[in-house]
């Protein structure tokens, strides 16, 4: 079994220029995670800088309304407002250990960009973030935050001007500068060992959740739900539950205007296996094998591929992947605001929307955990635009 693969997915589909870099990264990463000092350092920053552990909150009014216990894993309460910082701290500590002075990153919603800019400021590194021109427009707040933190934000205007293209440009920049630059990938995608690194640094979400749930309920939850773009919060949320066969795992992709309209970002419902961004995985493609543009109201889910381990978990049947439209997500977002006083990111609202559907099939003796991957401050312009002509 080739460790670089998850079944038929994964691998290293990159140029020869990057192969030595990936080999070195693999060796250094394995050494680091086996080193108690590195782990202690990571744990220290998670607690004292990021503010972990994050609460596992029983959403009381939602629980009452839907008739089953709905717990929220509050990743939105992390420093910088989303789960992305967990992985950034891990990778930047590794970059520092490897003697790199510069970091680059791609970003969609801007949360990973902000987290990377934050980590770079914390450790005094030079930081460049690649972001699609369309995302720069719809996530203006995060662009400004990155600049305040001292990062350079490069506007990418090719293809769809979104995360896919920002990733292409980051890969190009990385190939040029790999000798002194560390590429911090934010999602569970890319060439091996990135999908594994992202999973290991996001695993803290499910490690805490499992412990917290056991303390509260004395058992494991029936169902765990998380949204999937590239799949970083979801792989972190699933990691410790994958071997717990009685826990149902559900990943929620973005259905955009609806799968049937073709304007969606659901790589696993209609995508075919392909190769992009250094990995083999499910990929939205047109009839010539070109990558199709994804669509989602959520910049963080607007990606035509998905992490290779998710593709594997789908095919093996261990995780069920479903999709939620823009409209369903926005309704769920407002419901969480109004009923629990929490403004979630539109990404996380996709997981919530499916959780509400799922809850109707469950009862008061059962419980689910939904990963609230980020907070919604960055999305207020999108929300305002969306509700311009309809009642909020």
């Amino acid at each position: 079994m080739n460790k670089k693969y998850y079944g038929q997915f994964g691998g290293q589909y990159v140029s020869e220029t990057l192969m030595n870099t990936l080999d070195e990264l693999d060796v250094e990463f394995e050494k680091a995670i086996a080193d108690p000092e590195f782990r202690a350092e990571y744990d220290y920053y998670m607690k004292d800088y990021v503010g972990r552990e994050t609460p596992l909150y029983l959403a009381e009014r939602l629980t009452e309304k839907y008739g089953t216990k709905i717990y929220l894993k509050r990743e939105d309460l992390n420093h910088t407002g989303a789960h992305k910082i967990n992985n950034v701290i891990g990778q930047i500590l590794l970059a520092r250990r490897m003697g790199k002075k510069k970091v680059i990153a791609e970003t969609g919603a801007g949360q990973h960009g902000v987290a990377t800019a934050t980590g770079a400021a914390l450790f005094g590194m030079e930081c460049t973030v690649y972001m699609g021109a369309e995302d720069i427009e719809r996530q203006a707040l995060n662009v400004f935050r990155m600049k305040m933190l001292g990062a350079e934000v490069v506007s990418v205007t090719s293809g769809s001007n979104t995360l896919k293209d920002a990733t292409n440009e980051a890969i190009r920049a990385w190939a040029k500068s790999a000798e002194d630059t560390f590429y911090i990938i934010g999602s569970a995608v890319g060439p091996y060992p990135y999908p594994k690194m992202v999973k290991e640094f996001q695993r803290i979400i499910s490690r805490e959740t499992k412990k917290q749930f056991l303390e509260k309920e004395g058992r494991l939850p029936e169902t765990v739900i998380a949204c999937v773009g590239g799949g970083s919060n979801s792989i972190g949320m699933f990691a410790e539950f994958i071997d717990e066969k009685d826990v149902e795992l559900i990943g929620v992709e973005a259905a955009g205007h609806g799968i049937e309209t073709g304007k969606h970002a659901s790589a696993m419902s209609l995508g075919k296996p392909g190769a992009l961004h250094g990995m083999r995985s499910y990929l939205l493609q047109d009839s010539d094998g070109n990558v199709q543009l994804a669509h989602s109201i959520s910049a963080g889910l607007d990606y035509p591929g998905v992490g290779p381990e998710h593709a594997f978990l789908r095919d093996s049947g261990r995780v069920e992947y479903v999709s939620i439209t823009d409209e369903e997500a926005m309704d769920a977002l407002m419901e969480l605001c109004r009923m629990e006083g929490i403004i979630p990111a539109i990404e996380s609202a996709h997981a919530l929307a499916y959780a509400f559907k799922k809850a109707k099939t469950m009862n008061m003796n059962q419980a689910m955990v939904v990963c609230l991957s980020g907070r919604g401050d960055k999305d207020v312009h999108t929300v305002a635009e969306y509700f311009k002509n309809k009642p909020m």
């Binding site: 691998g11 290293q12 589909y13 990159v14 140029s15 020869e16 220029t17 192969m19 030595n20 870099t21 090719s158 293809g159 896919k164 293209d165 292409n168 890969i171 190009r172 190939a175 040029k176 500068s177 790999a178 000798e179 075919k272 296996p273 392909g274 190769a275 992009l276 961004h277 250094g278 083999r280 990929l283 493609q285 010539d288 094998g289 070109n290 990558v291």
Partner: protein, 262 residues
Amino acid sequence: MNRIEKKLKELEEKKQKAFITYMTAGLPSIKGTEEIIRAQAEAGTDIIELGVPFSDPVADGPVIQAASFKSIQLGTNLEKVFGIVEDVRKDCQIPIVFMMYYNTILYYGVERFVDRCIASGVDGLIIPDLPFEEQGEINGYLLKKNAPILIQLVAPVSKQRIPMLLEKARGFVYCVSTMGVTGQSTGFHKDIRKYLSEVKAASSIPVMMGFGISSAKDVEGVKDIIDGAIVGSAFINLMEKNDYNVDVIKEYCSTFKKELNA
């Protein structure tokens, strides 16, 4: 004998260096591409890299990205590029190498792709996102009779990987002159001579250099080491600027070839 190997053997006998160009298929049109291939064969270009356009060309700089995008907009796809080769092969035997991304092959079907290369007369493949370790799948089919040669790419940082990359390499070795993507004019890698010499010493087949070359004088400083030069972005810029005028293209190719061997 494979057309690439045959051509390289001829050049070796004539003690000539190879001049290789890259062009994106489908520009200015399918017919136009066919004419330019024939014109280059007459002008003295030794091998042609034909780019199969892809939506996400991560190994390419802005010039080839823009050319790919434009060609896709014009409706170029893999099937049409095979059509170009078939048409050219009626009266022209210049070696043709497809430069393409692996997803295009995966989508088409790997075995079906190789069979179609054999049937249409494609001599070689350059797949920049298919490094040595991932070549097993396609190599299984490249054992077929008259299958194209998978050209191996070597980078300035390949170092200890070089013997592995070269062990079974056929045709020629493609040495990337710089870190990064095609079409950068930032100069070659700082250790270019040392790097090329290492590859040359380890290689039993000709060593070509590509990335960031626009004229024969760009390679003056390494001409004693390499067996040929590959021009891509600069060639596309020239064609674009001159509205794909065949006479200008012929003049550029024959001049480059002459100066390279001066």
